[in-house]
Amino acid sequence: MKHILVIDDSATIRMSVEYALKEIGFPISQAENGRDALEKVNSIKSNGNDIAVCVVDVNMPEMDGITFVKEFRKGDKFTPVIMLTTESEDQKIKEGKDAGASGWLVKPFQPEQLVDVVKKLVR
């Protein structure tokens, strides 16, 4: 079974994203930072499941979102990774794209915006 992985150090943002993506129908897992997320990815895959999409914040303690994407891409070239962040500068967006992100949403977001992007990227 495929899981959605929501990675953000803010509990309220993780809850907002989980609430928005419920209608997609995949189980949703949460992680508080990039390092925690890599462990969740390994745990999900070692149980015979897979990741449908990662929704990732940029500024997080321990391992930030851009570093997470670089690490994640070492083992997974194709699963969509959507950055969801307050960062909107072109340079930061380019860093995300170069790291291997699939999309970039700037907070505040409307639930429908996030659902549309996820549906577009998850086939």
Binding site: S10, T12, Y19, A101, G103
Partner: protein, 196 residues
């Protein structure tokens, strides 16, 4: 925000206007005058990093929880801007403590309806409870403006209650402009980019 060197503290003073946020690990002072808006002071007492945000949520919320509410999501995003700066400086979200001021109903100027005022109180209660950030000081409501000085490395706050227009006429005008802008833009969301 403006920076001033000539002040009673002998440190750099960063004065925030409504809508501003600033975080730092410098030995400085962050000041503002709160009226209708909320002023959130956050600090990490271990790493000596702190920041202040001066903002408002743009309307009355429903009752389903701030993370399900479009008005609430704007407040969460305002907190994220401040929190993001603290995290970038190395602050630990799990160590943060909060001091909260403002949300006054100052007669004749920028007064809130009960619905909006109660929504701001609900936002504060719910946000800090869900994020597990202890509130050390909550000095909100009433009918007086507050002049605030926050020392981000220690979390100390000096607060003085102001008379109606004492010392703050510029802030009253700026706050009204900020509130008008935020309420007008409450249906505006961030950009979406899908990389090819």
């Amino acid at each position: 925000m403006i920076k001033s060197k000539n002040n009673e503290f002998g440190k750099d003073l960063y004065i925030l206007y409504p809508g501003d946020h600033y975080a730092t690990q410098e030995d400085c002072v962050i000041g503002t005058i709160s009226a209708s808006c909320m002023v959130i002071c956050l600090y990490d007492p271990i790493r000596h990093i702190g920041g202040m945000g001066h903002f408002v949520i743009p309307g009355a919320m429903g009752t389903e929880g701030i993370y399900r509410d479009e008005i609430g999501s704007h407040g969460i995003t305002s907190m994220e801007y401040l929190m993001g700066e603290i995290v970038k400086l190395g602050g630990d979200r799990k160590k943060l403590r909060a001091k909260i001021f403002g949300v006054a109903n100052v007669s004749g100027v920028n007064s809130w309806t009960d619905g909006i005022k109660n929504s701001i109180f609900t936002f504060i209660d719910e946000y800090f409870r869900v994020e597990h950030i202890p509130i050390e000081k909550e000095d909100i409501g009433g009918d007086r403006r507050r002049k605030l000085y926050f020392f981000p490395r220690t979390g100390k706050v000096l607060r003085k209650l102001l008379e109606n227009n004492q010392d703050s006429s510029e802030f009253i005008k700026m706050e009204q402009e900020y509130i008008n802008r935020v309420f007008k833009e409450k249906n505006t969301y961030g950009k979406v980019i899908v990389f090819e």
